[in-house]
């Protein structure tokens, strides 16, 4: 029976990581439902961008209060994950504070002390975030589009992180008091626990302390596994997907919209006086069935756009700077990403159930995103500039406009007029091209 702890630990560990791997593979499968896009150029620049924006948090600090608090939570999270290694080894082999034997006395003291300080910063961060979100009334965090699950989700994340850090401190304090009583070997330095919490714990008996230490350790471990598996259902996926999203980000100037190659071919043929419009395709040429123009559903978006939808943490920085949203129009770039993810998840569940996608009579366009939202966009790029992890909601809006115009001819009437003018008069207004130089003689 003496190995029962280790066995339970192993089962939990394998189940936890196994489930998480399953979730990740589902996300990967869903993202691959999108169109392929080549974003593997300029590798050096991509690594640099990822290091600067995702690891270096360079865009987060544009809003200093949220930026610095986020930095606490982020650095704390990254470093505390080193502790996960220790937990896993201790759990499997029944050792106690395994890293102390590797790090040596003084470095292990430094390591544990750093962890304690970071854990305290994380607690400060999540508490302030909780207050900001629920009581302080930051507009972008209290908008109607976050009612329901997005709001609960955000709060759950903060509560779980708070609970995990508290368990961490409980474990350390019990350990430290036991060390002082000579009941556990002396490993580590705990500046926060030994000063603030030890006075309370000093009153506890040895057995209570042993139980507390163990219980907190198990809670901490199970909590991490739970949190990891919770990610899939949460906006919190950004802690993983921010990295690929920044790596695959659009490196072009923001004003550069892509040119559809399928259209270029058509126009070139149209403009070529020698082209035979009735000619059969050349022998051996690929049957060039033009796919849809623009995007009607998630399948028509590219894989980076779908990755973006999973990466969005719904912070709303995009929406808070969107000129359309500021002036009370229906468009919210954040909501475009949230709806894209919702639809993609729905498609994923459909595939899980049926083995392949079976038409459910729904589309991203109209069923999720309305025309009114799409036509309110000024393509000003404020949203893409504001996003801390370089997501691109504008490209999704733009692709859906393309679908509305090129597949459905469903542009607002005034725009149809403008496009006709461009086509016939070479200007968006109904003027004669021959009058183009009249200004010089006015």
């Amino acid at each position: 029976m003496q190995y029962i702890d280790n066995i339970i630990f192993l089962i939990l560990l394998v189940a936890g990581f196994g489930l998480f791997a399953k979730s990740l593979s589902k996300i990967y499968r869903n993202i691959r439902l999108g169109r392929e896009i080549n974003r593997s150029d300029h590798k050096a620049e991509r690594w640099e961008t990822m290091a600067r924006v995702a690891m270096g948090q360079s865009k987060m600090v544009k809003r200093p209060v949220a930026g610095i608090l986020h930095l606490f939570v982020y650095v704390g999270f990254v470093i505390i994950n080193i502790e996960l290694v220790e937990i896993i080894v201790d759990g499997i082999f029944g050792t106690h504070r395994f890293l102390s034997s590797i790090f040596g006395h003084s470095f292990y003291n430094f390591f544990t002390a750093t962890l304690e300080i970071l854990a305290l910063l994380v607690i400060i961060g999540v508490v302030v975030f909780f207050i900001r979100r629920n009581f302080y009334g930051v507009k972008r965090l209290t908008m109607k589009e976050l009612f329901g699950w997005p709001k609960h989700d955000a709060n759950w994340i903060l509560i779980i992180e708070f609970a995990l850090m508290m368990a961490f401190f409980k474990m350390n304090t019990a350990d430290w008091v036991l060390q002082q009583r000579g009941l556990l070997p002396e490993h580590g330095s705990f500046p926060i626990s030994s000063t603030f919490l030890a006075p309370i714990f000093n009153n506890f008996s040895d057995s209570v302390l042993f139980f507390t230490e163990k219980a907190a350790w198990w809670f901490h471990f199970a909590g991490i596994l739970f949190f990891m598996n919770y990610l899939y259902y949460s906006k919190h996926l950004h802690i993983i997907l921010a990295f690929p999203s920044t790596w695959f980000a659009n490196l072009n100037k923001k004003g550069k919209f892509n040119n559809l190659e399928s259209v270029t071919k058509e126009i070139k043929l149209m403009m070529d006086p020698n082209a035979d419009p009735y000619a059969a395709p050349a022998e051996g040429a690929e049957a060039d069935v033009p796919s849809k123009f623009g995007a009607e559903d998630v399948f028509d978006l590219n894989q980076v756009q779908l990755l973006n939808a999973y990466s969005c943490t719904e912070c709303g920085r995009c929406t808070s700077v969107c000129p359309a949203n500021i002036t009370g129009k229906k468009l919210s770039p954040r909501l475009i990403l949230m709806k894209t993810r919702d639809r993609l998840e729905e498609v994923g569940r459909n595939i899980d159930k049926n083995g392949k996608f079976v038409d459910d009579g729904k589309k991203l366009l109209n069923d999720y995103v309305t025309k009114e939202e799409l036509w309110a966009c000024t393509t000003c790029n404020a949203c893409t500039e504001a996003c801390p992890i370089l997501l691109d909601p504008l490209s999704i809006i733009f692709e859906m406009r393309r679908f509305l115009v090129m597949e459905q001819s469903a542009a607002p009437q005034e725009l149809n007029l403008m496009m006709t003018n461009v086509e016939n008069n070479a200007a968006p207004w109904q003027y004669n091209q021959a009058d183009r130089l009249n200004w010089a003689n006015d």
Binding site: T264, I326, T378, P428, L437
Partner: protein
């Protein structure tokens, strides 16, 4: 008429080519307000002796509004036609006073076969100033409060924030920045083909929101670098009945005024 305009066709007939092609754009050609910007720019170029040409009747819309509205067909039809004309004249360098033309020619034409050096008029004038060809006597605007509204398609879309500001600083005016400026600039509301349609329903129009911000500094002049921003801000100023107190002017108009052109 106190300026001199030649077309590419005229240059070609003489067997010569100008230093730069001035891409006037639809607004600059047809819109009464924007024509003044076009003329001011030509006057400055004339004065310092820059040899430039326009396409005149051979110019057409770059296709920008059609593209942003989602009509890739019309966009590419315009783009490929324009590229044929530009390549036939062997154009190397283009300057334009419209950030939308600038963006499209610079970023979206290359992959369709149109490779030109494209600059915005503020970038062009900044360069001329650095080369010593353009000299601006400050003074005319001394002490006047000016605020600059960043056009999205010059600023965020192409990362140019400095050139317009450098020109404005030369005017000796008091340049005040709005809270939402440079990368955080607020759109005038005209981009993405919005110029050509009624806005969607909301609490207010975007240009009103933007003008309100500009007016809160009580400027004498709201400076712009885009004919569409100019229209939107002018409308905004009228909305607040401030059109007798506050002027909306393109940067080249201010420069031409400073030089008494």
């Amino acid at each position: 008429m106190d300026f001199n305009i030649k077309t590419m066709a005229e240059y070609a007939a003489e067997g010569k080519s100008p230093e730069v092609l001035f891409w006037v754009g639809c607004a600059g050609s047809f819109d009464d307000r924007a024509k003044k910007i076009t003329k001011a720019f030509c006057k400055i170029l004339n004065k310092i002796g820059v040899e430039f040409a326009v396409l005149g009747q051979e110019e057409s819309c770059t296709g920008d509004p059609a593209k942003r509205a989602g009509n890739e067909f019309v966009f590419q039809m315009m783009a490929l036609t324009n590229i044929e004309v530009l390549n036939a004249y062997e154009v190397k360098k283009i300057v334009t006073a419209c950030p939308h033309c600038f963006n499209t020619l610079k970023n979206e034409y290359p992959s369709l076969g149109g490779n030109f050096e494209v600059v915005h008029h503020t970038q062009f004038l900044k360069k001329l100033m650095e080369e010593g060809r353009l000299k601006i006597e400050g003074g005319a605007f001394k002490g006047k409060k000016i605020t600059f509204h960043d056009p999205c398609y010059l600023g965020r879309a192409n990362d140019e924030y400095e050139a317009p500001r450098m020109l404005l600083e030369k005017l000796d005016a008091e340049l005040v920045e709005m809270k939402r400026c440079k990368t955080n600039g607020l759109c005038c509301g005209a981009g993405g083909a919005q110029m050509f349609k009624e806005p969607e329903k909301g609490n207010k129009d975007i240009n009103v929101e933007r003008t309100e911000e500009a007016l809160s500094f009580e400027p004498k002049i709201i400076a712009t670098g885009c004919p569409f921003c100019n229209t939107m801000m002018t409308d905004g100023v009228k909305h607040f009945n401030k059109n007798t107190e506050v002027e909306v002017k393109d940067i080249v108009e201010l420069l031409a005024e400073a030089e008494d052109l």
